[in-house]
């Protein structure tokens, strides 16, 4: 058992209101620079939709992630041999137009334009060339199903549906969508790290954050192709790739990452998980429908004395283990099986988990009228307006079982709370819903609390990062006694 700690995330999609505050917080802190204007380390997509970059889920086009081949698992496109063959021109690299051409406006014209018959206008100009441009795409161009015949209808996840189901989804009365905020998943088996020819990408041992060493990156761009989530970006100005750093400088000082901190809907949870790195190889070799479960099996119980002993033997600090015991992510992912990885079929073991949205689920339509007169409170999962197959394509690697369980458990919790507050449901029905999803009353209460009431400190349990010990990678601190200081500093010099 090789116990590691991983800072891990849960996004509760029922609570996301699609306000993009997370995206803007991230943009202002990290990517408001030349060459990075087009990057949104955090973005929010409308589902169904084609997302950002356009159709990022279409691996026929972008060839991201791992796939099973020759009895093992290898990168889909930029492994050792294929990568070497395409190093001079990578046919599956997304280009700027797959994202959008960044733009601004000539605001100064509003003030400086000479007096005339017309109101001055601010013209859109490209942030690459500075030339006037016609804006034809943006990072959330299909927000709230805008242009859905072009965008939402081309969502690759709809391939799982029959043509009738697809047609039904886009009837005006039945239109339905939800939001999918995305950041780097800080995978346990990151495809970007596996693909980097220069070894610039790495996973931090202590906390599992995936980082990119700017001084080692040579701009071969394999990582951009390899990431199935398209969350490594190429800075066209510096000629280096960049990615979400999970605001590690904030984490190291005990603060939540900017996107987490700013989340208006409070959908985000952060905490560490203990997992068994020895199980990675087995987990990524399982067939698609077992992947979600295999990843959950990797996560260890932080209360188990054997796990604690192995963690201590592996150098994990007691307070890191203690943080794992309080981790909201552990509860959502492991204890309650409510949170699921996004597109687990790419075998990167993403460590960002989503609670699939229960709403909007009711209201079937007959004769153009919403029918809410259902026997059962909130209806059943199978009359869900977004077909379960669609949700399974996103969160179950094609397997409906874990998604169905997560939704039914949420439903059971709601029924339980309804009974507590208004007491208008058949008690037998509520008990049945709870028992069918292995939910006790205490657990339902805990899910309700963490979902709806949890304050800051319960949503973000940030393990101590022990950066004070990182100094030891530079050498023995005793050796530096009596010198000018520690670290990369040079000796004091007079004059000049």
């Amino acid at each position: 058992m090789d116990v590691r700690s991983q800072i891990s995330m849960v996004f509760h999609l029922d609570k996301c209101i699609g306000c993009h505050t997370c995206s803007v917080a991230c943009k202002n802190v990290w990517t408001d620079r030349r060459g990075a204007e087009y990057m949104w380390w955090n973005n929010v997509e409308t589902k169904p939709g084609t997302g950002y970059p356009t159709k990022w889920e279409d691996q026929e086009k972008y060839k991201g992630g791992f796939e099973k081949k020759n009895g093992g698992v290898d990168l889909r496109a930029v492994g050792r041999i294929r990568g070497a063959a395409t190093v001079f021109h990578n046919p599956s690299l997304p280009i700027i137009d797959d994202y959008y051409e960044p733009f601004t406006y000539t605001y100064e014209d509003l003030i400086n334009a000479p007096e005339g018959a017309d109101q001055p206008v601010a013209k859109p100009i490209s942030m690459i060339t500075g030339e006037p441009m016609k804006i034809e795409a943006g990072p959330n161009w299909d927000d709230d199903l805008g242009g859905s015949p072009i965008y939402a209808a081309n969502d690759p996840n709809l391939d799982a549906l029959s043509s009738e189901e697809r047609t039904a989804l886009f009837e005006v009365q039945r239109l339905v969508f939800f939001y999918l905020p995305r950041i780097c998943n800080h995978c346990a088996n990151p495809a970007c790290v596996a693909s980097c020819p220069s070894g610039a990408l790495y996973k931090r041992g202590e906390d599992g954050i995936v980082l990119l060493n700017q001084e080692r990156c040579r701009g071969w761009r394999f990582c951009v192709t390899a990431c199935p989530y398209k969350k490594t970006y190429f800075n066209w100005g510096t000629g280096k790739s960049e990615k979400c750093i999970l605001c590690y400088p904030r984490l190291e000082s005990g603060q939540a990452p900017a996107c987490f901190h700013s989340c208006v809907g409070r959908i985000r949870y952060l905490g560490n998980l203990l997992y068994d790195a020895d199980q990675i190889v087995d987990a990524i070799n399982r067939p698609d429908h077992e992947l979600v479960e295999a990843q959950r099996d990797m996560i260890l119980d932080p209360f188990d004395p054997a796990v604690i002993a192995a963690a201590r033997a592996n150098g994990l600090a007691p307070d890191v283990i203690e943080a794992a015991q309080r981790s909201p992510v552990y509860k959502f992912v492991k204890l309650w099986s409510l949170a699921l990885p996004l597109h687990a079929e790419h075998r990167t073991l993403p460590m960002l988990f989503y609670v699939p949205p229960l709403l909007p689920m009711m209201a079937s339509v007959g004769d153009g009228i919403y029918d809410t007169s259902i026997d059962q409170f909130l209806g059943t999962i199978d009359s869900y307006r977004l077909p379960l197959k669609y949700m399974a394509s996103l969160f179950g690697a094609g397997n409906e079982a874990p998604v169905r369980h997560a939704l039914r458990k949420q439903l059971a919790t709601r029924m339980y709370r309804r009974q507590v507050t208004t007491d208008d449901l058949e008690e037998a029905n509520v008990r049945l819903a709870l028992s069918e999803t292995d939910t006790t009353a205490e657990q339902a209460e805990a899910i309700y609390r963490l979902t709806s009431l949890a304050p800051f400190d319960e949503r973000f349990v940030i393990p101590p990062m022990h950066r004070e010990e990182a100094i030891e990678m530079l050498g023995d601190t005793a050796d530096a006694k009596g010198l000018t200081g520690l670290g990369f500093r040079e000796g004091p010099q007079r004059g000049a």
């Binding site: 046919p91 690299l93 070894g199 041992g205 000629g239 150098g315 030891e472």
Partner: protein
Amino acid sequence: MLDVILFGAFPYVAVVLFVGVSIQRYRREPFTYSSLSTQFLESRNLFWGSVPFHVGVLVLFFGHLLGFMFPRQVMLWNAMPARLFILEVSALICGILTIVGLVGLILRRARSARLRVNTSVNDILVYIALLCSIITGLWVALSLRWGSAWYTHTIVPYLQSLIVMQPDIQRVAELPLAARLHIISAFALFSLFSFTRLVHIIVAPVPYLWRPTQLVIWNRDRKTTSGA
């Protein structure tokens, strides 16, 4: 006198710049080491420039290198006229691939507004130096045929004399103009090398072929610290 400067001194300057500045830059400014790819801004035309250019230039580079290292073997190979012919034609084809690719790359850059704003003086210098080398090389190939035969008693002894620090300038000073220009432009390319994006050649990702798939970096020794 000019010959002494060009063929006796300049090669040493080029090598010192090539080695010294490359190392210094790697140590002091590792961030600046990049291939500076522009595929992200323009992909379709890049294919028709980058692929023929790189394939051609790689074959030519290693051809030149092998010829210098194993002149005797090359002479033996060339003992049969048919084989000499095959070697020369292959080299010429690579030269044409290279120039076609390079001209394609230059036109691509000149035509795209996005690429023009992302072009530095250094990029232009690289294009000029490469163009000079390739054009003079093709000139040699076409006007002074069977270079793979005559180089063994001209260029090879000259390069060897440079290595032992006793430049034998006469070996090359009397070569035809095309050959002399080719030699000078090659050393010019070497002297520019470490100041430009050409440095991506020396950080080519060869170790990728055998390195472990995943890379995990620990800040501290996980077995000994943080324990108590």
